[in-house]
Symmetry: C2
DNA sequence: GGCTAAATGCAACACTATTGCAATTAGCTA
DNA sequence: TAGCTAATTGCAATAGTGTTGCATTTAGCC
């Protein structure tokens, strides 16, 4: 909820401004990654104007507080839907509808870490984006 | 080797032009991801000019032939170092020196697929970028 | 050497992202 | 509730990234 994010924002000494609330609302409503200009467009359609620089800065802040993530394959931003991500961000991106699902799994992380270590690489952070079909689109695909 | 890539290029009906050889040479030399403008800069420093549009087009071609990959976390391009990637691209990115190591593991892929399936997601393609320290930088880190 | 389709270079443009500074505002205090 | 101040936003300017159409050049063929 937007309200929760605002609380976290304030707890860290940041102000609960109108632009921040608007960006959080938009992110909250959609499960697809949005670019700064996407967000500006959505708000403009509602008669609420935000400068793009402001949106960039707000998204930076939200990411730094782990309230949002940048999805690298599309460059867009999504709200963070997990409380604790344990140094491991995972997204499943639906190729058909673009929807994002964030998830985490400790066991999988450990396995991957071990695999990397065998190759001489010391991982401390995972970024995984799986591309495929979400359950809804998969059902449609099967007719 | 550049020579191998050129052969693959020609086998698919593409010409072995001077610009393509130059881009392949640069990609071959470095294990760090390079943006189109990085490549242009490196070549310019050697007195060889390529238009940035040309470089974009060459990188598109190389990626479509699986001779190069786009590394999403940095947006740069690296040469492909694996013959068969089985629908699964993996990179380990060193946080310290930026070096990239590409790798693949069928078992890990299967495990990830299964995990995704349990969440109702049907994956056909993985993109994983692990961030950490490569063996050389890790040794330095330990003093 | 000449031919032709493919590839490159160029110019123009659109989109994305960043910086410095002036104006505004949230949240504090009285 | 009004006033204060630092934080935040908006604006203008600019830099960087990526794309398109078209004229020119070139690789690979005869």
């Amino acid at each position: 909820m937007v309200r929760d994010s605002i609380r976290i924002l304030q707890a860290q000494g940041h102000k609960a401004t109108r632009p921040r609330k608007l960006v959080l609302e938009v992110l909250e409503e959609t499960e697809k990654p949005l670019s700064p200009y996407d967000i500006q467009g959505i708000l403009r359609a509602r008669g609420k104007y935000l400068n793009h620089v402001t949106i960039y800065r707000i998204l930076d802040l939200l990411c730094s507080l782990n309230l949002a993530h940048k999805v690298l394959s599309s460059g867009g931003f999504v709200k963070c839907s997990l409380d604790d991500i344990e140094g491991c961000h995972r997204f499943m991106v639906c190729q058909h509808c673009g929807a994002i699902q964030e998830f985490a799994d400790k066991g999988l992380c450990q396995e991957e870490n071990e695999f990397a270590r065998n190759l001489g690489f010391h991982t401390e952070y995972h970024l995984s984006e799986f591309s495929g079909l979400c359950s809804r689109c998969y059902r449609k695909w099967l007719h």
